[in-house]
Symmetry: C2
Subunit: 302 residues, 2 copies
């Protein structure tokens, strides 16, 4: 049987499709914009790309939102308004005859990182995505941990200060409220960072040039991040934690202070044990993870 795996990462603005081997090495890669077409039309296009990839063992689809991974149904997605209760698995299997599974995108990223960054050796594994929002995925004993209703791993919504800033979710003081894009902008403004437009990109560019205010923004970010990650270490005692997402591109601004701060917020034994890394492949992590999630024995997934 072919060891080629297909990954599909359906995002709000683009769809990535790739062929990888079982270690997550990308062999082919196709990117198309996400259009305003119906889910059926978009899925048909995806199927035609899948077919063009030739013989493959499986298809894994990653998508943001509430996914019923046992049945392969996307119940709801915040980024794709038209997609409601779409049986992605059934659609792709009918049209391509290739066994398919569907998974939440944060879980795909975690599984991809578990394979690429941890080489399947670090069995209890957490990936934290630092982007517009702060997300996460948990691997327990080498398998995606979805929790009881599929919403586990919402690491961005740990409360790190109940009287902190309002979060998009309605709560106060979530980790995401501090270090999601919106939170970082607020920190920058509070610290008096000046730029035509205050964005993670302009802050990063300024820090690159040694701008002190920009660097102090990262210092604050690393402190908040350490509070959240410290709790994760004390609760989950994982083997490895990896960072993904856009902000992780600038992990070198954060890393040193983050590690120092982390020692204040987590127990010594689990802290000494856990390896903390930035993922090696930020750009393709989602699509690679999607390709890899398919279980080794087709059919064992349901």
């Amino acid at each position: 049987m072919s060891e080629n795996l297909i990954g599909v990462d359906i995002g709000g603005t683009k769809i990535l499709m790739a062929v990888t081997d079982t270690n997550g090495t990308v062999k082919k890669r196709v990117e198309v914009p996400t259009t305003d077409d119906t889910p059926g039309e978009i899925l048909l296009k995806i199927c035609s790309v899948i077919t063009s990839f030739g013989r493959c063992r499986s298809v894994g689809v990653g998508i943001a939102g509430d996914v019923d991974s046992e049945r392969g149904i996307l119940r709801f997605s915040p980024n794709l308004q038209k997609w409601r209760n779409v049986n992605i698995k059934k659609f792709i299997e009918r049209n391509t005859k290739i066994p398919t599974c569907v998974e939440n995108d944060a879980n795909c990223a975690a599984y991809g990182s578990y394979v690429i960054d941890g080489r399947r050796k670090y069995k209890n594994f957490v990936t934290i995505t630092l982007g517009t929002g702060v997300g996460g995925g948990i691997i327990i004993d080498g398998e995606i941990y979805r929790g009881s209703t599929g919403t586990a791993g919402e690491i961005g919504h740990i409360t790190i200060n109940p009287s902190g800033p309002r979060c998009g979710c309605g709560n106060r003081g979530c980790l995401e409220a501090y270090i999601g894009t919106h939170g970082i902008k607020n920190i920058a403004k509070q610290l008096g960072f000046k730029a035509d437009k205050v964005t993670p990109a302009t802050i990063a560019a300024a820090a690159q040039k040694g701008d002190r205010t920009a660097l102090s923004v990262y210092k604050k970010v690393s402190e908040y991040l350490a509070v959240g990650v410290g709790s994760i270490i004390n609760i989950l005692n994982p083997d490895m934690i990896s960072f993904a997402g856009g902000v992780a591109n600038n992990f070198y601004f954060i890393e040193e202070h983050f590690r120092r701060e982390l020692a204040h917020h987590s127990f010594k034994t689990p802290l000494k044990h856990v390896k903390i890394v930035r993922t090696k492949n930020i750009k393709n992590l989602g699509v690679i993870g999607a390709a890899l999630i398919f279980p080794k024995e087709p059919g064992s997934h349901a």
Copy 2:
């Protein structure tokens, strides 16, 4: 084979031993004080009680501290200074010829609650012990989740406010620093609670009589507890959370406000799903859990 299980709960002040059935119903129960004797002397006494219990399938030992549960060794215990690297499993098996396993006491409590309170139906399960300290144990897919170095479940050491009060662990603003015994006393003093001695017991007694200050202490406690539990729900998305430990005796002072607050700190779907209960058997939870932890197939544990 006999379905009688023996549990041993070795605490800093007393040792509980019990015979239970596989549903955790206690058939016999013996309590002896923990003496200052050597571990060997104490374990010999335990073995003689075990032998007096008659024919039993297994022995499970629960003990506070750093336990290597695969090998049955207590590496270190904060309550039992003389106990260092004691192979409890080997000692008991040699002296009683009954297969034995050893587990951290918080994990025993969680497993006991999983069986007694959840009847093994709520597969992803968290127990939070509210006592001098705040501890926890996690059950994932029906099995104790120990993490990678055996320290998972330190729910008392989630940081709920990085500029909060100093915790015994050295960190600031841990959940335990707010609602462990010491934290509760501080809240009571801050709110002006008056008593000869400010203890959880005097606060509970006053609350029982309708004392407003005492009730407001519980209100604060429930707010802090909700922050920590909200994060647990968002990270782990469990089926059930149970409360154990002394303070849980007064859960009815906390419950209503706690549930209201919890809605602010956790996502709707996992909150709606999770059942939150006080354990039915606070007094014997540790020893029952210890009895129940032994795996169904003797020998499958190592």
